[in-house]
Amino acid sequence: MTISAGAPFALETRDLSRFFDLGDHQVRALEGVNLRVQCGERVAIVGPSGGGKSTLLALLGGLDAPSAGQVFVGGADLYAMTERQRVQLRRGQLGYIFQGYDLLPALTVLENVEYPLLVAGLEPHQRTRRATALLNEVGLGGKEDFLPDELSGGQQQRVGIARCLVTEPSVVLADEPTGNLDTTTTDAILELLRVATAERGMTLVMVTHDPAIAALADRIVRIQDGRLETKA
C-alpha cells in the first residue's frame, strides 16, 4: 500500500469524530473535523491539553478507530482498509515520533532504529546499513551499541527521529516531539526534524501546545474541545 502519486492531499479527514463512552456520559474528543494536508506540507496542530490534538494524530496514523467520518492517506480511505493493509501502510508510509521517545528499552540504539525495517522484513545487512547512516545523520554515530537508558533525553529523541525516518515515510506524525526537552535541545531537535523532512519531501504533522514551535510550521491548525478553530 503506497500513497498514490496523483493524490490531491497527503492526508485528509472528512467529518471525523471520536467519542468515548465513560459509563453514564459520553466524551466528544473530536467532532466533525475536516482537515486537508498537502504533500510536503508542515502542519502544526496546536491547542490546550485535552483539546483532541493527540486523538486526531492517532486517527491520522491509523492507531485508533473513528466514531464517525473518514481519514484518507494519499487518497486511500484508512479505516476502510483491513487491519493487515493498515499495518502495511504504517510500515511504509507513516512515521511516528513520540513525546516520550518510546524506544524499546531492551534493544540497543542501532536495533531500535533497525526495528521498523525488521518488521517490514528487510535483510539484516540492509537494515544495518540504513540505520547506521541515519544514526550518523542525527549525530549519534558511535552510539549504536548503547541502550536507551544510557542516553540523554535529546539523544533518545534523535534515535526516535532516526527510527521514524529509516523507512522513508511519506508522512511523519510527531506528537509533542520536544515536550520533554529543554530549550536548547528543543531547537536542535526541531531543526533536525525540519531539515530531514524537507530534504526528503516528507509531509510533517506535528502536535504541540507551544506556539513558538508551531511557528516553524507552514500552517498552524488550532483545535479546541474537539473542533478545529481555523479553516483547514
Binding site: A58, L63, V87, G100, P105, A106, E111, P124
Partner: protein
C-alpha cells in the same frame, strides 16, 4: 481506622487483576496445605487401623496367683468398656503326647482349655478336620501328621513328675496351627521378646479340663523361670488362668498417642479389681507403640513431599508483589500527596494483607475441597472424614495468614519503608551480588547435602531397621539431604540462569533466531536485558515442576517397591497353603495350572526343622523350571545379579543348594563348598544326612514366610526324605482375585486352603509405612503442580504485559502485526518453559533419587533405581504444558485487545 480499612477494601476491589495475582498463589498454598494435612490425618487413621488389624487377641489378662476363682476374672472383664468378647482360657504343660497303641511320642507340649465360642471369636485356630466335641480333644494338625494321629484315635498325655497317671482322651478334631502365634504370644514384661510357639498342642473343652486335669495339676508346686532376653523371673503356675479379650477397636482414637492413653487406662481398669492377682498383657498397645513411630515418620514424609509445593505456591504471591512494585510506588506517591503518614500507609497495607489472607484462605479451602473431591471422589464425604478435616482447616487457615504475612505484608512493608525513608533515592547504582552468591551458598548447600548423605549412609542410616513388628527409624538426616539439595540446586539454577542471560546473550539470540526467526532475536534481547524477571519466572516454574516430578518419581518408585515387597511376601501372585494333614503332592500344581488365567504354578516342600550343625533351619525343596516361571524373582535378590543363572546352577546340580546370605555368613559357606545337612523324614520321625553343594547365594527368596534359609532341588529332597508331599503352592496370574476365587470354588469344598494374594496380603510383620496409600497424594500433586506451573507462567506473562504495555504499543505503532507479536510472546514463553522443563525434571529427578533412598529403610527389597511412571509424568508434563499454553493464549488475547492510542498516552 475504619476509613483506612475502607480504603484498603476499595483498593482490593478496584484492582481485581492485581488482587487476583496476590490471591492466586495463596489460594493454591492454602488448598495444598489443607489437603496435605488432611492426607496426613487420613493416613494416620489408616495406619493406626492397619497396625491394629493383624492383632488377633487384643489383650490377655493373666492370673498371677493360683487362688483366683476360674470364672471371677472372666465375669468381671466382660462388663468393661470397649470389651467386645472375653474368652476364658486355662493353660497347662504336658511332658509328652502319644497315640495309644503307637510307639512314637512327642516332646513336651501344652494343653489349652478353650470354650467352643473361642474358635468363633478368634479365627486363628481353624478346625481342619473333625469337630469340637465336649467329650473329646482336638490336636494341632502338624502334631497329628508327625505322630500319625487321626480323628477318632485316642491320645495319651503324660505330665510332670507328681502326676503319675497318664491322661487318655479321644481325638474329635484337628486344628490348623499355621497362624496360631497369637495363642502363645507372651512378651517378657521387661521388654524382651518372650516365649516362643509350642509345637505340640492339645485343646480340651473347659469342662473336661476342669473335671479331669485341673484338680490334679493344681496340686503341683508353683515355680519361677527366667525368660526372655532380659532373663527376668516369671512365676509359672501349674494351671494358668487367662482371659483373652477382643475389644471394640472402632472406639479407639485415630491418633495412636491418644489411643495408647485410652488402652493404658483400660488396662489399669481391668487390673484394678484384682490387686496383685492379675497382669494384663496389652497386645494392642504394643502394636500401637510401633505404629506411633511409623506415623511420625509418615507425617515427616508427607510434609517433606508436599511442603515445597506449598512454599512455591505462596512464593507466587510474593512474585506478584515483586512484579507490582512500580504500581505500588505510584499509589504510595498519591497517598503521600494526600497527606498520609508512614503509620497510615503501613496500616492500609496491613488491612490489605488481612483481606487478601481471608480471601486466599476461603478460596484455598474451597479449592482444596474441590481437588480432594476430584481426586478421591465423593466417597471421602463421610462423617469420620469430615471430623478429620476440621483441624486441617484450622491449621491451613493459620498457615494462610502466616504465608500472607511472609509473601505479601513483609515485602510490601519493606518496600514502603524504603520508599518513605527515601532510601531509594540514596541507593547507589552499583549492583552488588546477593549475599548467597557472594558466600557461594549454592555450592555449600550441595556439598552439605552430599556430606549428610555420606555420613548418614556410613552410619547405617539407609539400612532397613524394620525387623518383625518393629517401627522403622527414619532419621531426620534422611530428610535433610534432599532439603539441602533442593535449596542448593535452586540457588545454582538462579546462578546459572543469570550467567546464561547476561553472558550467554549471543548464543541465546542465535538459538532463538533459528527457532523463531528475527523475532527470536528481539525476544532474546528482551529476556537477556530483563534477566531478573525472566530468572524468577524460570526458577519458579522449574521448581514447581521439580516438585511435581520428584513426587511423581517417588510415588512411582514407592508403588513399585510396595508391589515388589508384597509379591515377595506372597511368593508370587497367589499362594496356596494346604493344611499339614492334606498330604498334597506336586501334582496339585498341575491341577492349579488348568484354572483360567493361571500362567504358572509351582509346588514347594518345606522342612522347618532341618538341622545344619545343631541348629534348626528352614529348607525348601523347589522345582526349578516351574519355580522360575512362577515365583517373584527379581535379579536384585541374587548375589550374582541373575535369578536365572543362580537357579539354573541349582537345576544342573542334583545335590545343589542355594542359601541365604545370612546363613552363608553364619556358617562361612561359599559357592562351591560342601554343605552337610540333616533333613527330617516325617514318616520315620528320623533325620537323614545329605551332602549338598553350594551353587548360589541369595539375599531373598520368594517362598512362604520369608524364612528360606536353604533351597534344594525338590526331587533331591524327595529322594532323601522319602516323602513326596508338597507344603505350599505358588500361582502366577494376571487376575489374582479371580484366581483366588476359582481355587476356593474348585478345591475349597474338600480342603481347608489358606489363600493369600498380592491384593489382600498385608504385611503384618513389617512397618505400616509400607502400606501407605499415596495415590491420592499423587493425584493432588499433579493438579497442584500443573496449576502452580501455569500460574507462575501466567503471572509472569500478565505482569510482563502490564509492565510492557507501552513497549508493545510502540511496536504496534511501528508496524508490528499480531503474528509478529505472537511470535515474540511464544519465543519468550517457550524459552522459559523449555529451560524450566529441563531444569525441573533434572532437579526433580535429583530430589526423587535422594527421597527414594528412604525406601531402602522402609522396604525389604532395596530399590534398584527410580521408577519412571511414564503415564504419570506425561500427564503431569502435559497438564503443565497445557497450563503454559493457556497462559500464552490469554496473554495473546490481552495483547490483541491492546488500545495503542491509549497506551501511548500513558506516562
Amino acid at each position: 481506622m475504619i476509613a483506612l480499612f475502607c480504603y484498603a477494601a476499595r483498593g482490593v476491589i478496584r484492582q481485581p487483576l492485581q488482587t487476583l495475582l496476590y490471591v492466586l498463589g495463596l489460594t493454591l498454598a492454602v488448598g495444598l496445605f489443607a489437603d496435605t494435612l488432611f492426607f496426613v490425618d487420613l493416613s494416620q487413621r489408616d495406619m493406626t487401623k492397619n497396625a491394629l488389624a493383624p492383632v488377633q487377641v487384643d489383650m490377655v489378662a493373666r492370673a498371677t496367683t493360683p487362688d483366683l476363682a476360674p470364672n471371677a476374672l472372666e465375669q468381671t472383664l466382660k462388663g468393661q468398656t470397649l470389651v467386645k468378647s472375653a474368652e476364658p482360657v486355662a493353660v497347662a504343660d504336658f511332658a509328652s503326647l502319644s497315640k495309644v497303641g503307637a510307639g512314637v511320642s512327642s516332646a513336651a507340649g501344652r494343653v489349652f482349655a478353650l470354650p467352643q465360642s473361642y474358635y468363633q471369636t478368634f479365627n486363628f485356630l481353624p478346625i481342619v478336620a473333625g469337630k469340637f466335641d465336649p467329650s473329646g480333644a482336638m490336636i494341632g494338625d502338624a502334631t497329628a501328621t508327625q505322630l500319625g494321629i487321626k480323628v477318632g484315635d485316642t491320645l495319651e498325655l503324660k505330665f510332670a513328675a507328681g502326676i503319675t497317671q497318664p491322661y487318655r482322651v479321644r481325638v474329635s478334631g484337628l486344628v490348623g496351627m499355621g497362624v496360631s502365634e497369637p495363642l502363645f504370644f507372651n512378651p517378657d514384661p521387661a521388654g524382651g521378646e518372650g516365649y516362643g510357639v509350642v509345637a505340640d498342642v492339645v485343646f480340651l473343652p473347659p469342662a473336661t479340663f476342669e473335671r479331669d486335669l485341673a484338680p490334679r495339676l493344681s496340686k503341683l508346686p508353683v515355680t519361677t523361670s527366667s525368660v526372655g532376653q532380659t532373663g527376668s523371673n516369671v512365676v509359672l503356675l501349674p494351671v494358668e488362668r487367662q482371659v483373652h479379650l477382643k475389644l471394640d477397636q472402632s472406639g479407639l482414637n485415630a491418633d495412636p498417642a491418644k489411643s495408647l492413653k485410652q488402652l493404658d487406662a483400660l488396662r489399669r481398669s481391668l487390673e484394678q479389681p484384682f490387686p496383685g492377682q492379675v497382669r494384663v498383657q496389652n497386645n494392642l498397645a504394643l502394636r500401637l507403640g510401633n505404629a506411633k513411630k511409623d506415623i511420625l515418620a509418615a507425617k515427616m514424609l508427607f510434609l517433606f513431599l508436599a511442603i515445597p509445593g506449598v512454599l512455591l505456591a505462596a512464593y507466587l504471591s510474593k512474585y506478584a508483589v515483586e512484579l507490582s512494585s512500580d504500581s505500588r510506588r505510584v499509589e504510595l506517591s498519591l497517598l503521600r500527596v494526600r497527606g498520609a503518614g508512614m503509620k497510615d500507609v503501613l496500616l492500609i497495607t496491613a488491612f490489605t494483607a488481612l483481606l487478601i489472607a481471608v480471601l486466599g484462605s476461603v478460596l484455598g479451602l474451597i479449592f482444596g475441597a474441590a481437588t480432594l473431591l476430584l481426586t478421591l471422589g465423593a466417597g471421602i464425604l463421610t462423617t469420620a472424614n469430615l471430623e478429620l478435616i476440621a483441624p486441617s482447616v484450622g491449621w491451613a487457615v493459620l498457615g494462610g495468614f502466616a504465608l500472607t504475612a511472609l509473601a505479601f505484608l513483609l515485602p510490601v512493608w519493606a518496600q514502603l519503608r524504603a520508599e518513605i525513608a527515601g532510601a531509594r533515592r540514596t541507593v547507589t547504582r552499583v549492583q552488588t551480588l546477593p549475599l548467597w552468591r557472594r558466600m557461594n551458598a549454592d555450592g555449600l548447600m550441595l556439598i552439605a547435602a552430599g556430606v549428610v548423605l555420606y555420613v548418614t549412609d556410613a552410619n547405617g542410616g539407609f539400612k532397613p531397621t524394620g525387623t518383625e513388628g518393629t517401627a522403622v527409624t527414619l532419621s531426620f538426616y534422611l530428610f535433610l539431604a534432599p532439603f539441602l539439595f533442593w535449596i542448593g540446586a535452586t540457588l545454582l539454577l538462579i546462578r546459572l540462569l543469570d550467567l546464561l542471560l547476561t553472558r550467554g546473550a549471543k548464543p541465546v539470540a542465535r538459538v532463538l533466531k533459528t527457532l523463531f526467526g528475527e523475532f527470536g532475536v528481539v525476544a532474546a534481547r528482551g529476556m537477556t536485558r530483563r534477566s531478573n524477571g525472566v530468572g524468577s519466572a524460570v526458577t519458579l516454574t522449574a521448581l514447581s515442576l521439580s516438585f511435581g516430578v520428584a513426587l511423581s518419581l517417588f510415588l512411582g518408585t514407592y508403588a513399585t517397591q510396595r508391589a515388589g515387597d508384597i509379591a515377595y511376601i506372597v511368593g508370587s501372585d497367589v499362594r496356596v497353603t494346604p493344611p499339614a494333614s492334606a498330604n498334597l503332592t506336586p501334582a496339585f500344581a498341575d491341577q492349579l495350572l488348568t484354572l483360567p488365567n493361571v500362567k504358572g504354578a509351582t509346588s514347594m516342600a518345606r522342612d522347618p526343622v532341618a538341622l545344619i550343625g545343631s541348629e534348626k533351619k528352614s529348607v525348601y525343596g523347589i522345582d526349578v523350571p516351574s519355580f522360575l516361571k512362577t515365583a517373584y524373582l527379581p535379579n536384585a535378590m541374587f548375589e550374582n545379579g541373575s535369578a536365572a543363572a543362580t537357579l539354573g546352577a541349582l537345576a544342573k546340580t542334583p545335590n545343589g543348594v542355594i542359601l541365604a546370605r545370612d546363613q552363608a555368613d553364619k556358617y562361612d559357606i561359599n559357592v562351591g563348598d560342601t554343605v552337610l545337612m540333616r533333613l527330617y523324614n516325617p514318616k520315620t520321625a528320623q533325620y537323614v544326612q545329605v551332602k549338598t553343594l553350594a551353587v548360589g547365594i541369595y539375599t531373598y527368596l520368594s517362598t512362604s514366610s520369608q524364612d528360606a534359609d536353604f533351597a534344594l532341588n525338590r526331587d533331591f529332597m524327595t529322594r532323601a526324605t522319602g516323602t513326596s508331599g508338597a507344603n505350599l503352592f505358588l500361582v502366577k496370574t494376571s487376575d489374582p482375585a479371580g484366581v483366588t476365587v476359582s481355587i476356593q470354588t474348585q478345591f475349597g469344598a474338600n480342603l481347608t486352603l489358606k489363600l493369600e494374594n498380592v491384593l489382600t496380603a498385608t504385611k503384618v510383620d513389617s512397618s505400616s509405612l509400607t502400606s501407605l496409600n499415596l495415590n491420592g497424594l499423587g493425584g493432588l500433586e499433579r493438579i497442584y503442580t500443573a496449576l502452580i506451573v501455569a500460574s507462575s507462567l501466567g503471572v509472569f506473562l500478565i505482569s510482563m504485559l502490564q509492565s510492557r504495555r507501552k513497549e508493545f504499543g510502540t511496536m504496534r505503532a511501528l508496524g508490528t502485526d499480531d503474528r509478529q507479536l505472537r511470535q515474540l510472546l511464544a519465543a519468550e514463553a517457550l524459552s522459559i518453559s523449555s529451560v524450566s522443563l529441563a531444569a525441573g525434571v533434572g532437579i526433580g529427578a535429583g530430589i526423587a533419587a535422594l527421597f527414594v533412598m528412604l525406601l531402602r529403610v522402609i522396604f525389604l527389597i532395596p530399590p534398584a533405581g527410580l521408577t519412571w511412571p511414564v503415564t504419570d509424568l506425561s500427564l503431569l508434563l502435559g497438564l503443565s504444558l497445557l497450563g503454559m499454553g493457556l497462559g500464552v493464549l490469554l496473554a495473546n488475547q490481552a495483547l490483541s485487545k491492546l488500545r495503542v492510542s491509549e497506551v501511548l498516552r500513558e506516562a
